[in-house]
């Protein structure tokens, strides 16, 4: 396959979104996958040429991130969450069922080129466990039978909808959206699924609300500047050595250095 002029133009367009063009590399590789069905040597060369870096550097990036595939992906990428919570709730059973139904192993594609099956890590939908993703759209509260039916529909070419999103597009179409070229499906699907609304529903039912705010913007004018107090707050907030153990951390201070000191 040869990359089209249009694709080259779009790769340049992605790089131009950023103060430094190399920042575009992740979305550029998504676009390569959309155009080529996988990360191809030609796609790597194209990105390298446009960004003025070596093909080895681009390859290094393409092999680091799990969404980039070196082998052709089917029309539908099916990801079954088998991280602990989903696995326990049924994800392991779902993954076993699909492997057996499809006759493929992890990260393999059916012979008809329709389905690529993969077990995936936590996809941030634990309140809908067990979760399956089809082309990175949510399929919530799955069972082995429900998952198998979805696969049958996909293979038969029937229209399938995400339980919390729009109709499923092909993997290559999805990759184009990830590259930053939106399709027109943002308004499809609900605002939220049932589990997302369960606490809000209880609050409505019981008349619970956040306290009413003091009105008026004047309240902002009396913010005192008390450096000692701020420093004290920093000391109070300085976490114990174990606090570093959450990866989604937001530290912006020397706490990590201190913590490394503690640990040694």
């Amino acid at each position: 396959m040869t990359l089209s002029q249009q694709t080259y133009g779009e790769l340049e367009e992605i790089a131009a979104r950023y103060p430094e063009p190399r920042s575009g590399l992740l979305p550029m590789l998504h676009l390569v996958q959309s155009a080529e069905g996988r990360i191809t040597p030609e796609g790597i060369e194209a990105c390298a040429g446009l960004l003025g870096v070596t093909a080895a550097e681009v390859s290094g990036v393409a092999t680091f991130y799990t969404m980039y595939k070196r082998r052709p992906v089917g029309d539908y990428h099916v990801g079954v969450c088998t991280n602990t919570l989903c696995a326990v709730m049924g994800g392991d059973a779902i993954f076993d069922r699909l492997k057996s139904d499809l006759g493929v192993g992890n990260d393999e594609t059916t012979e008809d080129g329709k389905i690529t099956l993969e077990h995936i890590e936590c996809n941030a939908a634990c309140d809908y466990a067990p979760v399956m993703m089809v082309n990175w759209e949510f399929m919530d509260n799955m069972t082995p039978d429900a998952a198998a039916r979805i696969i049958d529909d996909l293979r038969a070419g029937n229209e399938v909808h995400s339980t919390r999103g729009p109709r499923i597009v092909t993997w290559r179409e999805a990759e184009r959206v990830l590259a930053g070229f939106p399709d027109d499906l943002a308004d499809e699907g609900p605002a939220a699924g049932p589990a997302s609304l369960v606490g809000l529903g209880l609050a409505r039912e019981r008349g619970w609300t956040a306290p009413s705010s003091e009105q008026g913007s004047a309240v902002h004018d009396d913010v005192p500047e008390e450096p000692e107090q701020v420093e004290q707050a920093a000391a109070d907030a300085s976490p114990p050595s174990s606090e570093g153990a959450t990866v989604e951390k937001e530290s912006g201070t020397s706490e990590t250095a201190a913590e490394k000191g503690d640990a040694q």
């Binding site: 430094e20 190399r22 590399l25 992740l26 590789l29 290094g60 990036v61 680091f64 969404m67 980039y68 088998t82 602990t84 919570l85 326990v88 709730m89 049924g90 941030a124 634990c126 309140d127 809908y128 466990a129 082309n135 069972t143 919390r164 959206v177 990830l178 590259a179 930053g180 605002a191 939220a192 589990a195 997302s196 369960v198 606490g199 809000l200 209880l202 609050a203 019981r206 609300t209 306290p211 003091e214 913010v223 701020v230 707050a233 920093a234 907030a237 976490p239 606090e243 570093g244 153990a245 959450t246 990866v247 989604e248 951390k249 937001e250 201070t253 990590t256 250095a257 490394k260 503690d262």
Partner: protein, 440 residues
């Protein structure tokens, strides 16, 4: 604290999620959306930072660092551009709050991005969203388009003279990019491997420029703080953990889902609200804030879920990702699976993490099968001791949390695998579709 007068649940960020087409600009504006931007523009940027400091808002991405103080670390005399980067790479196992927030109300996030960028004097902001959530990315892309068209983004926003551009950036599958410096590497088009700190991103972040990186929920909290007042925000929560947060219950409860409450609520209250643990079963263990926070048990039901309370119970509040496991679940199986996750997601930069997570999986796999000896438990603890605190970032530390805490609370269950010659549990009993005959 004024928590006594506060309702049990306090929807703020989730309050519009049940609104018709809540993700649209029209719906958001109909509820007063984007008015807090004008309130902020009427203030000096430093006054916005002070208001966020006064509110007591602490980072909602896990570490709990005071948000306003982080903003205050940006050296304003540095001539380089300043950047705001939103960490929307929600990947910590169990964590599932930012994704529904962006799906239902992306404009809450964007309004927060505008006010926060104004405060730190950034004219360019990036929203780094994990790539595996296509529809969420669509919703945020659309919100950005709408906000530009309505004059909430771009040049001279609301006639203020302030300019801001926002780029929505999709990641490509890497847990490690939730770590802020690895995220910056990804955003610079490189392999997502954490940077040595210092320098901290506030001084040398994106393109070596001063950069603030905040979690989605932190930034989304800013419009209500500015619009309703820092004192209003600080009136909720506990003394050192102010305000509201989204608590995500998952697993073996009757009604898993999102519950927005003042910090300091207990798991006992949350489980009651969720209709209790699964019928016929009892709570066995839970994570307070994702798999990287040490496990807790039924002894800890009354621990206040704030930074201090969970910390003094020996764990961390983390992302309030409350994964509930009942008595049908084998803790060894659960911990092995998390360990496999950390091994898979280790970026490979630091030897203790790259090699250590591999060894942890080897030892745990043998134990789970009933191979090995009781001495292997001490070997695991020794390995953890050689991993904790010895790598650039917290991924390695997180990998040790479930192991050390599970051996602390469930040593007998590990031993039972050895005496039983394998796992004594029936995995089918733990599933949502557990057959009638399955036994725990």
């Amino acid at each position: 604290m004024s928590g006594a007068a506060t309702d049990v649940l306090t929807p703020v960020l989730t309050d519009n999620w049940d609104q018709e087409r809540s993700w649209t600009l029209a719906a958001y504006e109909s509820r007063g959306g984007y008015r807090a931007v004008d309130t902020a523009f009427a203030m000096a940027p430093d006054a916005v930072i002070d208001a966020v400091k006064e509110s007591g808002l602490r980072g909602r991405g896990g570490a709990g660092f005071p948000t306003g103080m982080k903003w205050g670390f940006i050296p304003q005399d540095n001539p380089r551009p300043k950047y705001l980067v939103v960490n929307a790479d929600e990947s910590e196992p169990g964590t599932c709050k930012d994704i529904p927030l962006m799906m239902a109300s992306p404009h809450t996030l964007l309004e927060g991005v505008i006010i926060s960028s104004y405060a730190i004097r950034a004219n360019k902001a990036f929203i780094y969203i994990r790539g595996e959530v296509l529809h969420v990315i669509r919703r945020v892309q659309r919100a950005v388009q709408e906000a530009y068209a309505a004059g909430h983004l771009g040049s001279n926003i609301h006639g203020s003279g302030y300019d801001l551009d926002v780029v929505v950036h999709a990641g490509a599958g890497a847990y490690i990019c939730g770590e802020e410096t690895a995220l910056l590497e990804g955003l610079e088009g490189r392999r997502g491997q954490p940077r040595l700190r210092p320098p901290f991103p506030a001084v040398a972040g994106l393109y070596a420029s001063p950069t603030v990186i905040n979690n989605v929920e932190s930034i989304a909290s800013v419009p209500s703080i500015i619009g309703r007042g820092h004192a209003w925000f600080a009136s909720m929560g506990t003394e050192k953990s102010k305000g509201v947060g989204i608590f995500s219950l998952s697993g073996h409860v009757q009604r898993p889902g999102q519950y927005e409450a003042p910090l300091g609520i207990t798991l006992r209250t949350l489980i009651d609200l969720a209709g209790g643990v699964r019928e016929g079963h009892e709570l066995k263990f839970w994570t307070p804030g994702g798999s990287s926070t040490p496990l807790l048990t039924g002894e800890h039901l009354d621990v206040p879920l704030d930074f201090e309370g969970v910390g003094s119970a020996g764990s961390m509040l983390g992302t309030r990702a409350l994964q509930i496991f009942d008595d049908s679940v084998c803790v060894v199986r659960a911990v092995l699976r998390w360990s496999e996750f950390y091994k898979h997601e280790s970026c490979g930069k630091c030897t203790p993490c790259r090699e250590g997570t591999w060894w942890l999986v080897q030892v745990l796999t043998a134990l789970e099968k009933g191979d090995g000896t009781e001495a292997d438990l001490d070997l695991l603890l020794d390995q953890c001791d050689n991993i904790l605190g010895r790598s650039f970032c917290a991924l390695a530390d997180g990998a040790t949390s479930p192991i050390v805490s599970s051996i602390q609370f469930f040593r007998d269950e590990y031993v039972a695998h050895l005496t039983h010659g394998g796992c004594p549990f029936d995995p089918a009993a733990a599933t949502l579709f557990a057959p009638a005959g399955a036994t725990a």
